[in-house]
Symmetry: C3
């Protein structure tokens, strides 16, 4: 449990400190990363707003973000709750993300839960699967950054 | 400590996933559940905005909520901090609840702290007492849902 | 890790319950307490918006706050994430603070991270250093209260 909490803390710091190039390193080479909404999930829609099934796709995504350069104008702060072990081996962790604009304004950017499959690779915990289930279906710039 | 954190995580998930029928199961048959405000508490007011002293009353409350059907229109997300053991055996845990409206808007719904008495029943931790102390005295629809 | 989490929980409760006179007790006699911003930190600016290098200075600060009496009109709620151990022995912990006005309005007051050096003094963990790095550079009344 403590290792899962530490994994989540490291993941959040990586994004909040804008070290996006390190972000794909939290996943296995063959993985599933998806951002979806609670509504879509409950309707059984498989497609995500963002979808990647390899570390290479995650790297491409970061490269695209760096090129678009939109990410720099704001800051994010993840507050992550405690992981809960579900039956069947998945892990669920609630999160809240605050966005801080360049002029100092803050707003609630996203809330939701991570649905994860975690495995050990060379003694390090990695995500074989991370499905980000957002509570809200309102996504303006949300699609731009990793959650 | 880890068991208390897990109890809080399970409690929050139960509400956030709208599994309200399971919510009374977190309490002993004879219990105290109360929602009050920090102001009322410091003035020594005993009455709560919501008050129940048995699991049956909690079940009634859920039934009433389902009938009123108001709960469905929004979603909630609890972010719960770490439990602190107080002198005398009570447990205090800070919380924050975000409300997500159907149209996607999010707002800070409530903050405060849980003041709990926890006991073990058949190897499972349950609340003999949970007093929800809200920081704000502003309660519009707040009285509708469990916190 | 558990002791660090407990230290953070106790620190947050002290402020949120307005027991400010106890706040300097979380620090060593000779310490560093600083509030700064992420922008200032990344530019290498040493000066903080608030700076104290002894417990006596922290006590002075509390006395000034009590005299100014501005603090009483609102309440604060800290939600503190899990501490991460950094290389070199520092500890980093994310935080979010909600402000609750007397009339019940709530807003996001501050987000950021604590950069700490923690030592043991008579079996009790204390801060030899706590640098509060706020994500936002917007500080209106922020400078008034301890974070």
């Amino acid at each position: 449990m403590e290792r899962l909490a530490a994994l989540n803390a490291a993941y959040a710091r990586c994004i909040d400190e804008d070290r996006l190039e390190e972000w794909p390193g939290f996943f296995l080479e063959h993985c599933l990363y998806k951002i979806t909404t609670a509504d879509n999930l409950s309707r059984g829609y498989e497609a995500g707003l963002i979808y990647a099934d390899s570390r290479a796709m995650l790297k491409d995504r970061v490269a695209a973000l760096r090129e678009a350069n939109v990410y720099e104008r704001q800051r994010y702060r993840h507050i992550v709750g405690l992981p809960a072990l579900l039956e069947g081996g998945a892990v669920e962790t609630p999160f809240l993300v605050v966005r801080i604009m360049r002029d100092g304004r803050m707003d609630l950017f996203a809330t939701g839960r991570y649905l994860d499959r975690v495995v050990e690779e060379n003694d390090i915990l990695k995500f074989s699967e991370r499905i980000v289930v957002c509570d809200s279906a309102r996504f303006d710039t949300l699609v731009a950054i990793p959650l």
